[in-house]
C-alpha cells in the first residue's frame, strides 16, 4: 500500500478579490501525497500554505476566493476523482469521511454550545449508517482512543470544560472518526503550550501510522515538521520554493528562503543561540507572479530573478558530495505526467551556480544585495 499516490495536485492557483485588488494567494502549486506518508508544508503566514490545502476541499470563502486553475486527483481503491471538479454535495461527502481536519486554534474550533461528544457523533452519523446510540458508543470509543480519561463521563461535557490540549484531542477524534485516507493538520500545535505540543504531535503521528492515514502537516515551524514528515514542501509568497525528502532538504537546503528558515531555527545544541532573521517583509501578492517572490529579500538576487519567475527544477540527481540520494530522479518514482519526485527548488541562483560552476564563472549578484546578508 505504501508508496502509492493518494493525492496528486497539479498547478493549483487560488486568487482572492479584495477592495485593494486581486490577491494571488496560491500560484501553480503541485505535489504528490503518498499513502501512509506525511507531507510537511512549511512557510510563514501569508505564504499560501493553509489556503492551498483548504482550497482543495473548498473550505475557503468563495467569493472572494476563487480557484483559477489546477487539478487535485484523489486516488483510492474506489477509483480516481478530481476534487476540484466535484460539486459541494459530493465534496461534503468526502470531507470528514475520507479527508479529516485538525485546525490551529482548539479554543475556537469546537462549537461552544454543543457537547464534545455530540460534535464527534455528528460526524459519525453523517458518514455512517450508525443510529444515535451506536454513534454515541463510537464517539466514546474515539474519545478513549485519543487518550481522554473518563471518556464516558466526558462525552456530555462542553468545550469550555476542556483544556486546549484536550480540545485538540477531541478535534483529532473527529478527524479520524471515519478512518480517513488523508488528514489535513493546519498548524495543530501552534496555539498549544510547549509541553502539550509534543503530546499532540505524537498522538497524531501514532494514530495516523496505525490507521495508515496520509497526513498533510502545515506549520510555520521547521522544527515541528522535522520529526514528523517524510516529504517537505517549503512555500513562499504563494508558490512552492523547495520540495523534497525531509532529510535531504534539511541537510542540503537549496533555496535561499529555506536556508534562511533553517538559519532562523534555534539549535539548542549549539552554544550560539542567536536567531537569524530574514531581512525584509513578505511580498505583496497583488501583482501576478512575474518574478521570484523572494527576490526582494534575497541576499543573492540578480537580474534574472526580477524579470522571470523561476520554476521548480530537479537538483536531486546532481550527485554532489554529501547528497544522500544516489538514485536517478526519474527512476520510476516520477509520475507519468513528467512530475519528478525528487529534490526540487525554484531558484535561479542555485541553477546558475550549478551551471556556471563548470565554466568557473561567478554569478552576477545585484550590488548591495549582499548587504542584507551582512546585516542578517
Amino acid at each position: 500500500m505504501h508508496g502509492e499516490t493518494v493525492l496528486r495536485v497539479r498547478d493549483l492557483s487560488v486568487q482572492f478579490d479584495s477592495i485593494d485588488g486581486t490577491v494571488h494567494a496560491v500560484n501553480n502549486v503541485s505535489f504528490d501525497l503518498k499513502r501512509g506518508e506525511t507531507l510537511g508544508i512549511v512557510g510563514e503566514s501569508g505564504s499560501g500554505k493553509s489556503v492551498s490545502m483548504m482550497s482543495l476541499v473548498r473550505l475557503i470563502a468563495e467569493p472572494p476566493g476563487k480557484i483559477t486553475s489546477g487539478s487535485a486527483m484523489f486516488i483510492t481503491s474506489d477509483g480516481e476523482v478530481d476534487l476540484l471538479s466535484l460539486s459541494r454535495r459530493q465534496l461534503s461527502r468526502l470531507r470528514g469521511d475520507r479527508i479529516g481536519f485538525i485546525f490551529q486554534d482548539p479554543m475556537s474550533s469546537l462549537n461552544p454550545l454543543m457537547s464534545v461528544g455530540a460534535q464527534i457523533a455528528e460526524s459519525v452519523r453523517k458518514h455512517t449508517q450508525l443510529q444515535r446510540a451506536a454513534a454515541k458508543t463510537r464517539a466514546i470509543e474515539l474519545l478513549e482512543h485519543v487518550g481522554i480519561p473518563g471518556a464516558k463521563q466526558r462525552y456530555d461535557n462542553y468545550p469550555h470544560q476542556f483544556s486546549g490540549g484536550m480540545r485538540q484531542r477531541v478535534m483529532i477524534a473527529i478527524a479520524i472518526s471515519c478512518n480517513p485516507d488523508i488528514l489535513i493538520a493546519d498548524e495543530p500545535t501552534t496555539a498549544l503550550d510547549v509541553t502539550v505540543q509534543a503530546q499532540i504531535a505524537d498522538l497524531t503521528n501514532r494514530l495516523c501510522k496505525e490507521l495508515s492515514i496520509s497526513v498533510i502537516w502545515i506549520s510555520h515551524d521547521l522544527g515541528v515538521v522535522a520529526g514528523l514528515a517524510d516529504q517537505l514542501m517549503v512555500m513562499y509568497g504563494g508558490t512552492v520554493v523547495e520540495y523534497g525528502e525531509v532529510e535531504q532538504v534539511y541537510a542540503h537546503p537549496r533555496h535561499p528562503y529555506t536556508i534562511g528558515l533553517l538559519g532562523a531555527l534555534p539549535k539548542l545544541s549549539k552554544t550560539e543561540e542567536r536567531l537569524v532573521n530574514i531581512a525584509g517583509a513578505p511580498p505583496s501578492l497583488f501583482s501576478p507572479p512575474t518574478q521570484c517572490p523572494f527576490a526582494d529579500r534575497c541576499p543573492w538576487v540578480f537580474e534574472r530573478c526580477e524579470s522571470e519567475r523561476p520554476a521548480l527544477y530537479d537538483v536531486g540527481g546532481e550527485g554532489r558530495a554529501g547528497v544522500v540520494r544516489s538514485d536517478d530522479a526519474t527512476d520510476g518514482r516520477g509520475s507519468s505526467d513528467g512530475w519528478v519526485d525528487s529534490h526540487l527548488t525554484a531558484c535561479f541562483y542555485d541553477l546558475e551556480r550549478n551551471r556556471r560552476r563548470d565554466a568557473d564563472e561567478p554569478v552576477a549578484v545585484r550590488p548591495g544585495a549582499l548587504a542584507h546578508e551582512e546585516q542578517g
Partner: protein, 306 residues
C-alpha cells in the same frame, strides 16, 4: 448561576420600588393632580371635590405612604371612569394583549429568522437584499400608519380580514402584522449581523470540515449561536410591543391593555393609568429575568458558572 439569579431578583425588586416612585410623582408633575384628573372645563368646585376625594390635600409624605402601602397590597385605588379597583380592571385586559403580542412576536420571528440567517450567510444575495430591506423598513415605517394602510388594502379594498374587533382567528392577523413589523426589522438586522459574524467562526469551518451540509450547519451550528444574541432582544421587543399596542389596539379596537391606556388617558382616569404603568413595568422586569434564565438554558458556559 443561582447566586447570579438571586442578585438579579433583588435588583428587580428594587427596580419595581423605583417604578412605584416614578408613577407616584408622574401624576403630580404639574403640581396640581386634581386639575390633571378633571376635565379641562371642570368647575373649581369639582376640582376641589376631586382634591378632597383623592386625598391630595394631605401632606405629600402621607400621600406617598398611602400609595406605597396600597401598592404593597396590590391596591392601586379605584378607576375614576369605571369606579372599580384599577388593578383588577387591568388584569381583565391582560389576556387579549398577551394573545396579540405573542401573535406579533410569532409573526416577526417566523419571517425574521430565515431572512436574517440566509441573508447573513450569503452576503450580496437576494436574501441579503431582502434582509437589509426589511431591516430598514421596520425602522422607518410607523406602526400606526402601517395599521391604517393594512386596513385600507386588506380590510376595505380586498375584504380579506376584519378591520376591527377580537373575534376569531382572522381578526388577529392585521393587528399582529402591524405590531410585529418593527420587531421584525430589528430581528432581521440583528440575526443578519450575528450570522455574518458567526459564520466566520472557526467552529463553523470545523462543521463544514466534518462534511456537514450547509443547511444543517446553518440550523445546528450557526443558528444556535445566533440565538444567544436573539434572546437578548426578544425580551426588549416584548416591552416595545406593550407600548406599540397603545396604537395598534386603539386602531383595531382590540380589547387589551394598550387600548385601555389610550381610553384612560383620554378620560383622565389617572389611577387606572398608574395601575397600567406599574403592571407594564413589572411585565418588563419579569421578561428580563426570563431572558437571563433563557441565556443559561442556551449557553452551557453560563449554565455551569458558579
Amino acid at each position: 448561576m443561582q447566586r447570579y439569579l438571586f442578585s438579579r431578583l433583588i435588583q428587580s425588586a428594587l427596580l419595581m420600588v423605583g417604578v412605584l416612585v416614578i408613577t407616584f410623582f408622574m401624576v403630580r408633575l404639574t403640581g396640581d393632580p386634581a386639575r390633571v384628573m378633571t376635565p379641562r372645563d371642570a368647575s373649581p368646585e369639582r376640582v376641589e371635590a376631586m382634591r378632597e376625594a383623592m386625598g391630595f390635600n394631605d401632606p405629600l409624605i402621607i400621600q406617598f405612604t398611602r400609595y406605597m402601602g396600597g401598592a404593597a397590597r396590590g391596591n392601586f385605588g379605584q378607576s375614576l371612569h369605571y369606579r372599580a379597583p384599577a388593578m383588577s380592571l387591568v388584569m381583565q385586559r391582560v389576556p387579549a394583549t398577551i394573545e396579540l403580542t405573542l401573535a406579533a412576536m410569532g409573526f416577526a420571528l417566523f419571517f425574521a429568522i430565515p431572512l436574517g440567517v440566509f441573508g447573513g450567510s450569503r452576503p450580496g444575495s437576494i436574501w441579503d437584499t431582502l434582509a437589509r430591506g426589511f431591516g430598514l423598513l421596520g425602522q422607518t415605517v410607523p406602526n400606526f400608519w402601517l395599521a391604517l394602510m393594512l386596513i385600507v388594502v386588506f380590510a376595505v379594498d380586498l375584504g380579506w380580514f376584519p378591520s376591527f374587533g377580537r373575534s376569531g382567528p382572522m381578526s388577529i392577523v392585521l393587528p399582529a402584522v402591524a405590531l410585529g413589523f418593527f420587531p421584525l426589522g430589528q430581528f432581521v438586522r440583528l440575526v443578519r449581523s450575528a450570522t455574518l459574524e458567526v459564520r466566520g467562526e472557526d467552529y463553523i469551518r470545523t462543521a463544514y470540515s466534518k462534511g456537514i451540509e450547509e443547511r444543517a450547519v446553518l440550523g445546528r451550528h450557526v443558528f444556535r449561536n445566533v440565538s444567544i444574541t436573539l434572546v437578548s432582544i426578544v425580551g426588549v421587543q416584548f416591552g416595545y410591543m406593550l407600548g406599540g399596542s397603545i396604537y395598534i389596539e386603539s386602531i383595531f379596537s382590540w380589547p387589551g391593555i394598550g387600548r385601555m391606556i389610550n381610553e384612560a388617558v383620554q378620560a383622565r382616569d389617572f389611577p387606572l393609568v398608574q395601575a397600567i404603568a406599574v403592571f407594564s413595568a413589572g411585565f418588563v422586569v419579569v421578561l428580563n429575568l426570563l431572558t437571563d434564565v433563557a441565556y443559561a438554558l442556551i449557553d452551557p458556559r453560563i449554565r455551569y458558572e458558579d
